[in-house]
């Protein structure tokens, strides 16, 4: 009995292989769209978040006690970068100017919008912000004296923010001029749950400030992007299901003669439905698996093209895609099957 059933299903699939191909392709395309969009929309928060990190630090860590942070080491997984800064004031040409010492390579990496006209300072060099330079009447190549020492200006920093009022120096130089060690604050770049990182750092006895301009905007923006992608994924999902539905209905409808013949030969309604459902199941699984891989490569392509990064492969997407394609294939066959089994074989077999 089981053998006959399998033979019936495989035979019917084989005989109609051309028609079948169309159905499987329809399932595959639907599954591919669903896979690529699900993969991207599940990953968009991460990828877009990474992009938004180019706005620079979103947390500032201040010393909890005392005035300086001697050593900042944090091992929280969400912290993707940290740059200690030493701020101090010193007189230049009898004007009080704020200085900032830091590893300037790192600082520029964290704040990629920093626009340096010239070079980053090395050794006995400094990098004034454009407003500070204008105020002191300095340009790249000039020398300025701080205390008794002379420093060469390696370049001018243009950011459009209040950093333009400061003079940036390498950390070592800053510690020499100010006679201080450690940092007055640490800029931290967090990708992920920022509140969790704040709690973590506060437990380590630091004072933590959220840079609201960056942190708040980031959250709002990521929420919207995610919602947008989820909506698009949902549309595409329902559209893909409906077009699959069309294909399945047609494929059952056009076989009313065959159904009539089977009934005339004594096939029961239950068995008839089982045969068609098994067929739909096979198509759904085959199309779903094929579609998953097509969709994954599409998602990968988008990830590389836009974010220069692979999207992360999530097993739940595979399960979901397979489930959706099989279910839609089966459900969309049910309706025409119900119609088909109500067919009177005499009417159908008589001809058109």
């Amino acid at each position: 009995m089981i053998k006959l059933f399998t033979r019936l299903v495989t035979k019917s699939l084989w005989v109609r292989r051309e028609r079948l191909l169309i159905s499987v392709i329809a399932v595959m395309l639907g599954a591919a769209m669903v896979t690529s969009l699900l993969t991207i929309s599940l990953d968009i928060r991460d990828k877009m978040g990474n992009e938004l990190r180019s706005y620079g630090a979103n947390l500032v860590v201040l010393p909890g006690e005392g005035e300086y942070i001697e050593q900042f080491n944090s091992t929280h997984g969400s912290i993707i970068g940290s740059v200690p800064f030493l701020y101090f004031k010193a007189e230049v040409n009898s004007k009080k100017i704020e200085f900032a010492g830091a590893d300037l390579e790192e600082a520029r990496k964290m704040n990629p919008w920093w626009h340096v006209e010239g070079l980053l300072p090395n050794g006995e060099e400094v990098l004034p912000g454009i407003n500070a330079a204008n105020k002191l009447g300095l340009k790249a190549g000039d020398t300025l004296s701080i205390g008794e020492k002379f420093f060469k200006i390696s370049g001018i920093l243009d950011t459009g923010t209040s950093d333009d009022n400061r003079i940036f120096v390498p950390m070592k130089t800053a510690q020499q001029i100010s006679g201080k060690s450690g940092a007055t604050l640490v800029q931290v770049s967090v990708l992920g749950d920022i509140d969790d990182v704040i709690k973590y750092l506060e437990n380590k006895n630091y004072k933590v400030k959220k840079i609201r301009q960056v942190a708040d905007s980031e959250k709002a923006l990521l929420d919207k992007t995610q919602l947008l992608m989820a909506l698009v994924a949902f549309f595409v999902l329902s559209a893909a299901s409906l077009s699959l539905f069309c294909t399945m209905i047609t494929s059952v409808l056009e076989r009313s003669r065959e159904i009539g013949l089977m009934k005339a030969l004594g096939c029961g309604n239950g068995r008839l439905a089982a045969i068609f459902l098994a067929e739909a199941g096979v198509m759904g699984i085959a199309g779903g698996i094929l579609g998953y891989f097509v969709g994954l490569s599409l998602a990968q392509f988008i990830g590389m093209e836009i974010f220069d990064m692979n999207v992360s492969i999530k097993p739940e997407v595979f399960v979901l895609t397979l489930l959706i394609s099989t279910m839609v294939a089966a459900i969309s066959s049910l309706i025409p099957i119900r119609r088909a089994i109500s067919i009177d074989p005499v009417v159908i077999l008589r001809g058109e």
Binding site: I211, R212, Q213, L228, E352
Partner: protein
Amino acid sequence: MFYRLLSKAIARRKLRIALAVLAVVMGASIASTLLTVSFDINDKMGRELKSYGANILLQPSSEGAFINESELYNIKTIFWRHNIIGYSPYLSDTVKIKDTEIVLNGAYFDEEIRIPGLNKTFIGNRKAQEKEETIRTGIKTIAPWWKVDGEWPSPKEALVGIIAAENLGLKQGDLFRAEFGNSNETFKISGILSTGGDEDEQVTVSLKDAQILFGKQGMVDRVVVSALTKPGPVEGIDPSRLPPEKYEIWYCTPYISSIMFQIEEVIPDASARPIRQVADNEGKLLKKFEWLMFLITGIAMTTASLGVAAAMNTSIFERKKEIGLMKAIGANGNQIAGLFFAEAAVTGIIGGAIGILIGVALARMVGLWVFGAIINPSLFSVLISGILSVGIALLGSMLPVKKAIEIEPSVILRGD
């Protein structure tokens, strides 16, 4: 005869045709939804990115000079005036509070500005006529992340940064005296400000109060402007060097460089600079968003097209017998092809029209839901979706029609 055949063919096979139409509807609605959203994503996401604050900084062109506050309304009279979301002037200096040196800023919080009527002709004979209007602008508009514990200040009131408040031992409701040279002023603290930025260590009052304290009535020392821009060249543009046509295109595109240029035109004693943290990232991100949406739209449209093609294929394939009969009674290949193509075109037009309507509604929904603003359909996206649905329906019929024409009537009519 042809029309009768066509309408009969459609009427008799209602369910099948409905299925084909449904496939086209799905395809067209996806295409028009995603296209509409894609074309508008730059504007909508651009507005979202405005929450990062101003992207243009105006400073006096010469060191030690000031910008006239009364000229600032001109920012809203430039060619791209509708792209100016808001602006806020600042006047800052160091004051002494409780013998501690601290920076005091004057700024607009939510100021009402009167923009006089506009009657101007811009480059290329573009006329602009606008009635007088009033706008509200200031920090509440351009720096929405400012968090105030307490109230925004009225005249003679001040916001004290959270770190400054701690250092000075001040809290909401306290009075403090700010000394500047020989003048001084007493302010009441209306709220504590936390931004995570420099403002945390400063005191902020209304622009007017600061001007009185510093003795600089009507003057400001910088203005930040928030403008919607199109990603494009930020620097390296010398307008005077561009050939006239290129100059006009550049001037009439909302690049940050052209908006800065237009602001400098109307406020000659100011020079504009991009606030790079915001301006540079904005362009980069907008490009990515646009790319992302277009790639997704492309994928969805390809798939939708293939779905439509499959539906058309099925609809012809199952009518082999009919075609055989038509050929047997003397129809030639062209007549049969004509009939099928007409059918496909009808399917495409009906499905496309319904699909586009659904798509426009969906795009509106997406706009309202995600961005809180309606996304209006562009003619372009409607046109593309329309052409696409009819085109794909025809294209999808091509192969099966070719096959149908080659059918040998005797083979088909003999039975299966």
